[in-house]
């Protein structure tokens, strides 16, 4: 059989196993083992432990569980409530101020934890009930948190960008910095939509009640300047952690894993000392939450190493890359189809699996067409963010349904739709103007 035929068979078997009900990690492991048995020398099976070990023998991978620990420790305390309230007190006068406070809360939380689901769960558990109490439409409240949560994998530190950096052998510090501007621009676009939508909803409800002006649809809270300044110290611990992370990482004092280690350590100290979270039941909750998410991601990574090893050994990766390059597509055509492929995979695979399975195949073509791998990492992350908020995988949608089960899936999907459109628009803009993501890393890494 030729490499192309084996490759086609490999894809078919992988799809069958992925759809069989197996977890993604084990489906990747199973297809690898089947092809090792069928097409590779027996030594590959007997030495399988060594392949797994060498895949995981990468210090940078440690950043993933450590950032998860950091996010989980913060998420399980009152810290997210404090963050949320402090931001709201400063923004309450803005139309849609509470919604904007949620977007900013998601952005700051994302800057500490690197996980989308953790961000959506932490901010959404307070944000959604508060927004609904103040008259926000259920779809807008749920959709905003689901979309705001996706900023977790774009605003550094990002688990997705760490993995992408490992796979394409690019500087993770550079990738992190490249995610900063797009992350905050996307957050600003989300906020603008929330302001517009809440203003429109308020106006419509006033008209329905027959009021000419004034008469807000919901009770408006007021905060004095003193109350606003009182709230500021509550954000200080967060700023402290973010500052530690930023200085150590971008100052070049430590590697991403070391930054994650120090950040997680500082977070644990903060959680114990400031938030008095030292009872065994609370610690146990943090440990189990961390280990479950970390294990889920790391098992996918471990098994995906087997998967890519088999692909490479059987020359499937190389043959497919050569075939893609040989298609004589224009630069933008190639990017379009690559983006479509990532969107399609986002319908049934989590971001971690997409990066590990697809990047080695599409990267040679992207480099051949002159695309910057750092820019593409950000572009791909935004596309994968979309996969987190559209069905059927839509992990963030499940998180929101866990927090607010009374919001129907239809309302949630309709609420998320405008955010999806904003993201699609932003992908087009960032493709036309790659400097949006490359400008800041260029400033930091002049050489």
């Amino acid at each position: 059989m030729s490499s192309h035929e084996i490759g086609l068979l490999f894809v078919i078997v992988a799809l069958i196993l992925l759809l069989s009900g197996m977890p993604v990690a084990f489906a990747l492991g199973a297809v690898s083992v089947v092809f090792m048995l069928g097409f590779m020398p027996l030594a590959n099976i007997t030495g399988l432990a060594e392949t797994l070990y060498h895949g995981m023998d990468n210090f940078t991978l440690l950043a993933i569980p450590l950032f998860i620990l950091m996010g989980d420790a913060i998420g399980k305390t009152r810290a997210s409530t404090d963050l949320y309230e402090s931001v709201y007190r400063w923004l309450y006068r803005l139309p849609g101020g509470l919604g904007v406070a949620n977007v900013i809360g998601c952005s700051i939380f994302a800057a500490m934890c690197g996980s989308s689901t953790a961000t959506a769960a932490a901010i959404g558990s307070m944000g959604i009930p508060e927004m609904r109490k103040r008259g926000y439409a259920p779809g807008l409240a749920g959709g905003l948190i689901a979309a705001g949560g996706t900023l977790g994998i774009l605003i550094p530190p990002s688990v997705t960008l760490i993995l992408y950096g490992i796979v394409v052998e690019q500087s993770i510090g550079r990738l992190f910095i490249a995610g900063v501007v797009p992350g905050f621009v996307l957050a600003a676009l989300f906020a603008i939509w929330v302001i517009f939508k809440s203003h429109y909803d308020n106006k419509r409800m006033r008209l329905a009640r027959g009021e000419s002006k004034g008469g807000a649809t919901v009770e408006v809270e007021r905060f004095t300047w003193r109350q606003r300044f009182e709230a500021l110290p509550r954000i200080l611990p967060f700023l402290f952690i973010i500052t530690i992370v930023m200085i150590t990482l971008y100052g070049g004092f430590a590697t991403p894993s070391e930054v994650a280690g120090v950040g997680a350590f500082a977070t644990l100290v903060m959680v114990v000392v400031i938030y008095r979270c030292y009872r065994w039941s609370e610690i146990r909750h943090i440990l189990l939450g961390t280990v479950q998410e970390s294990c889920m991601i790391m098992m996918i990574i471990a098994m995906a190493f087997l998967f890519t090893y088999v692909l490479s050994y059987l020359h499937i990766t190389q043959a497919t890359s050569e075939w893609l390059v040989g298609l004589q597509m224009s630069k933008w055509e190639y990017l379009f189809w690559v983006d479509i492929l990532v969107v399609a995979l986002g319908f049934f695979l989590p971001p971690v699996a997409i990066i590990l399975m697809v990047t080695p195949v599409i990267m040679p073509g992207l480099l051949e067409h002159g695309f910057d791998p750092i820019w593409f990492g950000v572009n791909m992350t935004i596309i994968m963010e979309m996969g987190l908020i559209h069905p059927p995988v839509g992990l963030n949608l499940f998180v929101i349904q866990g927090i607010a089960p009374d919001i129907s899936l239809k309302d949630l999907i309709l609420g998320v739709l405008p955010f999806l459109l904003i993201m699609i628009g932003f992908i087009i803009v960032i493709s036309a103007f790659p400097q949006i993501s490359l400008w800041l890393p260029g400033l930091f890494f002049r050489h």
Binding site: G21, F26, L66, L268, Q292, P392
Partner: protein, 197 residues
């Protein structure tokens, strides 16, 4: 990520919750099942503690390397071993919570009863894979132990340590799959009997 795992559990058809465990199961099986669950919870905590240990070791290393100018030779490999331990020893706990994400694209299309069988088939295939890997990796661990293999570094720790962590984790997840499958079957049988009566 309790919220997420709960959501995922629901998304996967709530198999774990629906499986009643079968009241007619022999006492020995029930004891075995309880023991497996207790071990899962214990190794889950151990996995979490290994991640915390890794964060302490790294912080210690940052202080020694960057401030005291005295790096250690054991830091990197110790952390890799901790990572492997945290991943494989928590795999059974994660499976008990149905936390390993699957592909849910068919979930929205297929009828619920078909979905249950699909997930059951996925569990059988996963058990076969984990059991196969368990045997292969235990054999390799034994080889690493008996031949005294070590890593290539200056510290040169024995390689049976990470391999045994992998083997143990895969053994435990295989047992958890076995328990889940038997309980699912018992749950189905109970349901059928209930419907007949």
């Amino acid at each position: 990520m309790t919220d997420e795992s709960d959501a995922l559990r629901h998304a996967e058809g709530g198999m774990a919750q629906d499986a009643s465990g079968g009241n007619h199961m022999p006492a020995a099986w029930r004891a075995f099942s309880r023991a497996v669950k207790a071990i899962n919870a214990f190794t889950g905590i151990i996995g979490g503690l290994l991640i915390v240990a890794s964060c302490v070791v790294i912080t210690n290393e940052v202080i020694w390397r960057y401030y005291l100018r005295h790096p250690h030779t054991w830091n990197l490999e110790l952390n890799i071993f901790l990572l492997i331990g945290a991943t494989f020893l928590a795999a059974n706990y994660t499976q008990m919570r149905r936390g390993h994400v699957g592909t849910e694209v068919l979930q929205t299309i297929m009828p619920a009863s078909w979905n249950r069988w699909r997930i059951f088939a996925g569990d059988v295939l996963s058990l076969l894979l984990c059991a196969f890997l368990t045997v292969i990796i235990w054999r390799y661990t034994w080889q690493a132990w008996s031949e005294g293999w070590t890593t290539d570094s200056v510290w040169a720790p024995p390689l049976w340590i990470p391999y045994s962590l992998m083997s143990l984790g895969l053994t435990l997840i295989s047992l958890e799959y076995l328990v889940q499958l038997v309980e699912e079957l018992a749950g189905k049988k109970d349901k059928e009997q209930h419907e007949l009566t």
